[in-house]
């Protein structure tokens, strides 16, 4: 079952209009939310970010936080998913041809849920050479439906036999992984690239900055060579990095374990 614009429907009954600007132009935003035992983790932060992104695109969000929370519960309950990965997609909805949105749009709000992916072993990653994050675009700071740079980098990683890729920005500074923020551990320091350098302001990233002593800093790719350890973070959880461009990194450090324990507390 999925929730579409206020209605809970079987997925086979859900029709996205072929003129929906989400489909024709990637005109929209989304969130991926972890549900633990029926509870959506960090929901207020996710809904705040969804609204912030919609504001950048001048996209109305005709639903209250309460409406969306109720909808998430309805979708996960209908699927008997105590633990789930929920996705909220908001597109500008159907429209005539043209780049400029109409003055009034009828957005598409779709909420889906699936099983949470199982915890994965440490990720082997490369530094992507096929594309760059565009830190000069406001889109690098919101979670939009324009995901092709990440797709290209992930395809390159797969061709090269690894799990993920780190994207640099247009000036060659480290930005993030294809669907996760990157954190680097050096001694007791936990560092993550700046939003101004092209890191998406991830919900889990903000938690790590506020509660786990992580700090932001501009990061040259050389910083990855001299790291003790590294991990990826997104709303579904943390994943250690086992190697970068073939160079092995330490895994299972007490510092990483402490961070992992900490983020399980919050909401």
């Amino acid at each position: 079952m999925m929730w579409l614009n206020g209605q809970l429907l079987p997925s086979a009954a859900i029709r996205i209009d072929p003129a929906d600007r989400g489909f024709t132009l990637g005109d929209g935003v989304f969130e991926t939310i972890r549900v633990d035992q029926g509870r959506a983790a960090y929901l207020a932060r996710h809904l705040r970010r969804l609204r912030d992104g919609a504001l950048v695109l001048d996209l109305p969000v005709p639903w209250s936080d309460r409406d969306l929370e109720t909808a998430i519960t309805a979708v996960t309950s209908a699927g008997n998913l105590e633990d789930a990965a929920v996705r909220i997609t908001l597109s500008r909805g159907p429209a005539a041809r043209g780049v400029l949105p109409a003055a009034v749009s009828t957005p598409t709000m779709l909420i889906t849920a699936g099983p949470r992916p199982p915890a994965a072993s440490a990720a082997h990653v490369i530094i992507s050479t096929v594309t760059r994050r565009n830190e000069a675009s406001p889109l690098s700071r919101i979670k939009t439906l324009n995901y092709l740079d990440s797709i290209l980098a992930r395809q390159d990683a797969a061709r090269r036999g690894v799990d993920d890729a780190i994207l640099l920005n247009s000036r060659g500074q480290v930005a993030e992984a294809t669907a996760a923020n990157l954190f680097v551990i050096r001694g007791k320091n936990v560092l993550t690239p700046l939003v101004a350098d092209g890191a998406l302001p991830g919900v889990m990233r903000s938690v790590l900055l506020e509660r786990c002593g992580a700090v932001e800093c501009s990061m040259h790719p050389d910083a990855l060579i001299t790291a003790d350890a590294a991990f990826l973070s997104n709303s579904l959880g943390l994943r250690e990095v086992g190697s970068i461009d073939g160079r092995p990194l330490e895994t299972g450090s007490p510092l990483f374990r402490a961070i992992e324990a900490e983020i399980r507390q919050g909401s």
Copy 2:
């Protein structure tokens, strides 16, 4: 009527799956094609570019050029559209959650047609200050469903009371307009930004380079201040630029008229 994966159907019967990666991630490419008296202009070039873009995304195109030509005719005929703007959209189709595409996908190929927009008067444009083209991404060289940078720039233009915006690249060089290539006239010279600087290799742009004596060159925004005239080109036609950031440009020059006459000849 629309054509979806081999079938001509009423638009109300066309359902895009909510899990289609075109909708969830902007994972696909498209073409806009001008149809004149039932004939699709520069069709071979459009289909070549569609296939080139699909190759970059490692996206299969399970239709021959002949299939697609027949489909375009079927759609325009069903709509009694002698003159039309046709759009071909190719997405990777429905898939489970995740950035990496599955090894085998079932692409969505959708062909739609609408009336051609009427010829417009000279466009007043600004140089966008809200976002930049990412010339470091291969996506700047293919026509993908990731159109949000152009949408942001066009929204900014509208807020500032003009028709369109010129996007610079990450290094501050001129790239293109939001849905058209830019050509600048200085004396007898007709100049257009480099693909390497973030210009989409437009089909009409290639015709202008091959047949109308236009040349590519890297272009600082100052070059727009000293231009005699400028025009926008896309597959639906040419449109003169009446002003850039408030500075008026010459319109109706014999050189522009000659170029306009020339592009009507080809195919």
